[in-house]
Every structure is written in C-alpha cells, then in structure tokens.
C-alpha cells in the first residue's frame, strides 16, 4: 500500500533560509523532495524511542536530513558493550545518559535541529503525553512491553509507528499506521513468554544489523514526512544479513484486532509488564538457585554434582567452565537419559536466565532429580570465584 500525502499539514510549513538551501541542496535537487519536501522535514517532529542500535542511525540520519525537531527517549546510560553498534555514542560517553550523549552528537552534526530529550522510561503513565506532541514515532526499543506500549499509544493518538526490530543477523521493518493499514497487534496479538527468545545480550547481534534496519526506518520516516513513494505500510520487510536476503511479506489489518479492529476492546493504555508476562499472576514454582561461591565450596568439599553447561560451543569458548558437561539448551530433553537423578545437577549459562529454561524443560519432561540454577551464571563465577575468567 502506498501513501502519497505528507502527514505534515501545509499550514505548519516555513520557508527555508539561504543557509538551509545550501545545506540541503542534494535533497532539493531531487524532484521527489524539492523545496516543499525539505520545508516539511524542517516542520516535522519525530520521536525516536530508544537511542540504542536502531535509534543511533535513526537519530543521525534524521538530523542530517534536516528534521526540525527530534525527540529522544531513553533511561539508560552508555555501556562499553553498546559501542559495537550504537554509533551515536563514543568511548568517552561511557556512563553518560544515552539521551545526553545522543543530543550532543546530533547538535554537532546539525545545530539547527531542535533536540528534546526525555531521560525516562516510556510508561503507560507518560507515553500519551510525550507522543502527543510528535508527528511520527520511530520505534527503536529493545523489549516487548515498550513495543506494545508504543503501538497502542500510536493507535490511540492516530500516529504512524515506524517499526524496526533485530535479532542476531535478522531484522524486521514495517510501518504500522492504523489509519491506513495494520498495527503491530494485527501481526502479533501477544508477545512470547519472557526469555523464550534469547535477548541480544545473551544471543548476540551483528553490529551493522541495527545500522541497516535503523536506516530503513529513517527512510520510511522521511517518506511519511515528504509524502510520495511507496511506504512499508501493509508490508513486512525481513532482512537476513548473513544470507544477504531481503524478503517481503504482505500484512493485512486484522478486523478482530483488539485496538485497531472493528470492535476494539482496548481504549486506553494497559499494564504492559503484566501483558508481557513479566508479572505472572499465577505463581510458578520458583527454580532453586545456587550461588557461585556455594558451588565452589561444595565442589571443594568433594560433593558429587553434575554441572551442565547449556551454552553452544562458540559461547563456551568465550569463558569456559572447567569440568562442566556441555548439553546445549536445544538438546536438553532428548538427552534426559544422560542425567543421574540421584546427584544434584547445576545448570549454567552466561547470566543464569537461559539455564532456567533448561531446568523447566527437564521438569516438564518428568525428570525427578534435584535441579539447581547457577545464580547470575558464568559471569558470577568469573566475578566471585575465578577472576582469571572474563565476564562478557
């Protein structure tokens, strides 16, 4: 589906100055943008949610393109492991709030851009108030609860939501604009349970991937502002950086969508942590844990313990755990016969999140022996027991 009209009303548009004409001359020479399009960019207000991997190229390219007002929302500080992909931040910015670091970089790139920083987590309480002032929202978040929050707020306020999402080598992009096509809930009515899909901090992500997907988002933002072209409304773009393949799928509006369908049941923002299962209402049996130091004491005392490393070989090589038996998570239940249920079994991964799933899978498969989770994983072992190992 294409959308030909600019979402910026003509009465908000001002003429460009001569300096601006010089600066944006390569845009002005494109008949599809021209003076009208550049004036629309100058009048536009875009909110970028998240200044991480996707937010970095979004903010840089939109600032360079002359978007007049850029809002940026983030509550995080810059960490060293962000710098592999979040190119708006620099080494000297480590420990600074991401919005402050991003604002400085935007200002040095284009001092004419008005930057509004929201150094906060986007929540059901503040989302409508923050988003209301903008024309377009670009979703560069890294979690399901904020994605559903951004989607719902955009549907309720009638704003387009330029969507991008990444995992390892794979990206998705679309434009969710309920007035013209489907929303995120039409595609995914509900999120996966927490932890089912490993996060980038556990599963890894190719540094340039958010660069590519975020740039696609920036491109879609610009077309919505300028008008014309073919937008990603009603289309889902899949990108695989390893195979170097783009695939395109059709997306339709779901008439039964709870927020943008024919008979919506959601009329206001909800509790997204609960919706995403982060506050389970039925109490699941907690998994028993063991601290790194306690495990060390038991091993030193000669206790017989089966230690199971659920990481794949390439990840074990980063910080190997001596004496552990490797059984990757994906093979756990089919190798249930290799366990001795008379001995305690301790499961470990990087930070002790995926190992919980190994334990749950064995419990569900009917394993009767004692299963323990190494609290905070191999990183805790490296921190508290064996300082010669790296934390990653």
């Amino acid at each position: 589906m294409s959308l030909t009209e600019s979402i910026i009303p003509d009465d908000r548009v001002d003429k460009l100055t001569n300096e601006e004409i010089s600066r944006y001359s390569r845009h002005l020479l494109l008949p599809q943008i021209g003076l009208d399009g550049q004036e629309k960019l100058k009048a536009a207000k875009v909110l970028i949610v998240g200044t991480g991997g996707l937010g970095a190229p979004l903010a840089l390219y939109l600032a360079a393109a002359g978007v007049g007002t850029l809002g940026i929302v983030d509550f995080d500080v810059v960490e060293e492991s962000n710098l592999q992909r979040q190119i708006i931040h620099s080494t000297r910015d480590i420990d600074r709030p991401k919005v402050a670091s991003a604002a400085d970089r935007i200002k040095s790139l284009n001092p004419e851009v008005k930057v509004i920083t929201h150094n906060t987590r986007l929540t059901s309480e503040n989302a409508l108030e923050i988003i209301e002032d903008y024309d377009i929202v670009a979703d560069g978040t890294d979690n399901y609860q904020t994605r559903y929050l951004v989607n719902d707020a955009c549907v309720l306020l009638g704003k387009p939501n330029v969507y991008g999402s990444i995992f390892q080598f794979e990206g998705q992009a679309s434009v969710f604009y309920a007035k013209e096509g489907p929303c995120y809930r039409c595609l995914y009515p509900s999120p996966p349970p927490p932890g089912l899909v490993p996060s980038c901090s556990e599963g890894g992500v190719l540094g340039v991937l958010p660069g590519i997907v975020g740039t696609i988002q920036a491109n879609e933002v610009i077309k919505l502002i300028v008008g014309g072209g073919n937008s990603l409304i009603g289309r889902l773009l899949l990108f695989d950086a390893w195979e170097m393949k783009f695939r395109e799928l059709k997306l339709d509006k779901d008439p039964g969508c709870p927020i943008c369908g024919k008979k919506p049941t959601i009329h206001e923002l909800i509790d997204y942590e609960q919706f995403c299962g982060l506050k389970p209402d039925h109490e699941e049996e907690p998994v028993e844990t063991i601290e790194a130091k306690e495990l060390k004491q038991r091993l030193d005392a000669g206790d017989k313990i089966q230690i199971i490393d659920i990481r794949e070989p390439h990840e074990r090589a980063i910080s190997p755990f001596a004496g552990a038996k490797p059984i990757p998570l994906g093979q756990m239940t089919r190798r249930i016969g290799e366990f001795d249920d008379t001995e305690d079994a301790v499961f470990l991964c990087k930070v002790g999140q995926r190992s919980v799933f190994a334990i749950r899978a064995l419990q569900e498969a009917g394993y009767k022996g004692k299963l323990l989770n190494l609290k905070d994983g191999v990183n805790a072992w490296a921190r508290d027991v064996d300082n010669s190992l790296p934390q990653y």
């Binding site: 991480g52 991997g53 996707l54 978040t141 890294d142 979690n143 399901y144 994605r147 999402s165 990444i166 995992f167 390892q168 080598f169 794979e170 998705q172 595609l187 995914y188 009515p189 509900s190 999120p191 996966p192 927490p194 932890g195 089912l196 899909v197 490993p198 996060s199 980038c200 901090s201 556990e202 599963g203 992500v205 958010p210 889902l236 899949l238 695989d240 195979e243 695939r247 395109e248 799928l249 059709k250 997306l251 339709d252 779901d254 794949e312 990757p328 998570l329 994906g330 093979q331 756990m332 239940t333 089919r334 999140q353």
Partner: protein
C-alpha cells in the same frame, strides 16, 4: 515437499538449519512434519491445545496463512513456507 524457512530465533531447535523440508498438503501438515524431525521446536510453534502461538506467523509465499484458511491453508509442491516469530532485540 515444501521448503520451510526457519528464522534465526528458532534455529537452535533445528540444529542450526535455516531451511528445512516438510511434507504435507496443508500448512499444518508441513509444520507438523518439521516438528516431527525437530521435536524441540514443537512448543515454540504450538500451544498445549495445538493452536499456533500468537507470536508466530506463518506465511506461504508472501501471504499470511490467516488469509488462506489458517493451518488448513493448502501447500503446493515447491511452495516456500516462512515462519516469522516476534523479535524484540535487547532485553528479555
């Protein structure tokens, strides 16, 4: 035989394969054939009642099976079936 494209997020359950084959005349049969070859993927695609999970979409070619009759959607020789789960990025 239909070609089934496995997204990165589910490749841990297909021994790393990005592409597998499944025999069947409907989307449901093809995916079930995949779960028979790779049992660990089953619970990521179907709930306890055998319904497709709400965070996984299945496409035949570029059409969502929702518009083609759901799991009964016909699959023809040579069709490409794509599994598209929700991905979020960073935090769990």
């Amino acid at each position: 035989m239909a070609k089934v494209l496995i997204p990165t997020a589910l490749r841990a359950f297909t021994d790393g394969s990005s592409e597998v084959e499944g025999a069947g005349k409907t989307a449901g049969e093809v995916i079930t054939a995949v779960t028979e070859s790779y049992p660990e993927i089953q619970k990521h695609l179907f709930d306890e009642e055998g319904k497709l999970r709400s965070y996984v979409n299945v496409f035949i070619g570029d059409e969502n099976i929702r518009n083609l009759g759901g799991l009964d959607a016909p699959v023809h020789e040579g069709d490409v079936v794509t599994l598209v789960p929700a991905i979020a990025g960073g935090r769990p």
